[in-house]
C-alpha cells in the first residue's frame, strides 16, 4: 500500500480527471440550468434548461466517482 503512494502523488492527474475541479464545473452547469429555468427574458433559454440541468447532473454523478 505504502509503496504506491508516492508514485500517484507525484504524477498529478489532469484537472478533467480529478474529482474536485470537475465537481465544481458540474455544480456550475447545474446552477446555469437553474438560471435558464428561472430567467424571464428568453423562451429559448428556458427551453434548453432541461438539457443543461440533465448534463450537469449526469456529469456530477460521473465525476463524483473520480479520485481526488
Amino acid at each position: 500500500m505504502t509503496v504506491q503512494a508516492p508514485h500517484t502523488s507525484k504524477q498529478k492527474r489532469p484537472f478533467f480527471l480529478r474529482r474536485g475541479p470537475m465537481e465544481n464545473i458540474a455544480t456550475a452547469i447545474i446552477g446555469l440550468g437553474f438560471l435558464m429555468l428561472f430567467q424571464p427574458f428568453l423562451l429559448v433559454l428556458y427551453t434548453w434548461s432541461l438539457v443543461t440541468l440533465l448534463t450537469g447532473t449526469v456529469l456530477f454523478i460521473i465525476v463524483s466517482k473520480f479520485p481526488e
Binding site: I30, F38, L43, T47, W48, L53, T57
Partner: protein, 330 residues
Amino acid sequence: MPKFRKETQVTSVTDTSSSILGKAAQATPAPLASRIRGISDRTMAWLFITPAIVLLLAINIFPLIWAVYLSFTNYRANRPNAPLENVGLSNYSRVLSDPNIWQAMQTTAHFVFWTIFLQTLIGFSLAYLIDRKFRGHAFWTTVILVPMMLSPAVVGNFWRFLYQPQIGLFNYIVSFLTGIPPSSFEMLGSVQLSPWAIIIVDTWMWTPYVMLICLAGLRSIPDYIYEAAEVDRASLWRQFWSITLPMALPFIMLAVLFRGIENFKMFDMVTLLTGGGPGSTTEVASITLKREAFESWRTGRASAFAIILFVAVFGLANIYVKALNKVKQR
C-alpha cells in the same frame, strides 16, 4: 492484512479491525467460525439492507420509471382505455415551450429567491444574537423553533383567516402600525400583494430552520480563533467578515440548498393560502403540475413536467449531499 481476510472469508469491517476476533477466526476452521457467528456477515448485511431498498424501489423508483414511460405517451388517467400512442419527445417540447409553465417557473423563482433571502438574513442574524449566550437563550430558541415543526397545510389554512381584509389580525396589526385602513388592502386577493403573502408565511415558518443550522455553524467556530483575533486587535467588524462569516458559510450553504429544494417543490402551504390565485399570480410549479395532472388529466404531459422538476431537484440534491459531507468533516 488483505491476504488474511481472503483466507478466513470474513467480510465485515469489524472483524478485520479487531485483532482479538481476527485471531479467533484464524484459529478456528472456516465452517466452524461461520457457525459461531450464525449466518455469515455478507448474508446478514444484505438481509438488513434489502427490505428498505425493496420498499424504496417499489414505492419510489418503480413509479418514477413508470412516469418516465408515460411522459413519452399521450396517456390520460381519466380515460384509461383510450389507445396509447407513443408521442416521442413532444410532451417535453410542449412543456418547455409553454409560456404558462414558463410563467409558473418565474413565479417559483420569485418565491424561492425572496424566501431564501429573507430567511437567511433573519435566520443568520437571530443565530448571531442567540450566540451571545444571554440568560434564557435556550428557552427562547425553543420558542422560536416551534413554527417549523407544524404542518404547513394546517397552519397555512389558518393564515388565510389572519389575512382576511376586514376581520383578519394581520391587516389589523398593519393598520394599527401604519394607519392604512385594514379593509383597503387584500393580502390574498391582490395581484401585487399575494406573492408577498406566501413569502411572509414561508419566512415565518422556516426562518427557525435556517437559524438553527446557522447557530450550529457559529458554535463550530473554536474560541481560540477569536482569542487570537483579539490579541491582534482586530475590530469586531473585521472579525465578523474574516472569521465568523467564512467559517459559518458551509452551514449557511447547507440551509440555503435545503430550503431551495423544499421551496422549489412547494405545494401544500401555497395551495391552502391562495390556491395559485388570484388568477395565476401565485401559481408555483407544483400547483401547475397538479392542475395539469389532476384537473386537466393530461397525464402524459404532466409526467414530462414532473420529470423536468425531478431532474432539477435531483441536480440540487447532488450539490446538497456534497455540502452535507463538507459540513460533516468539520
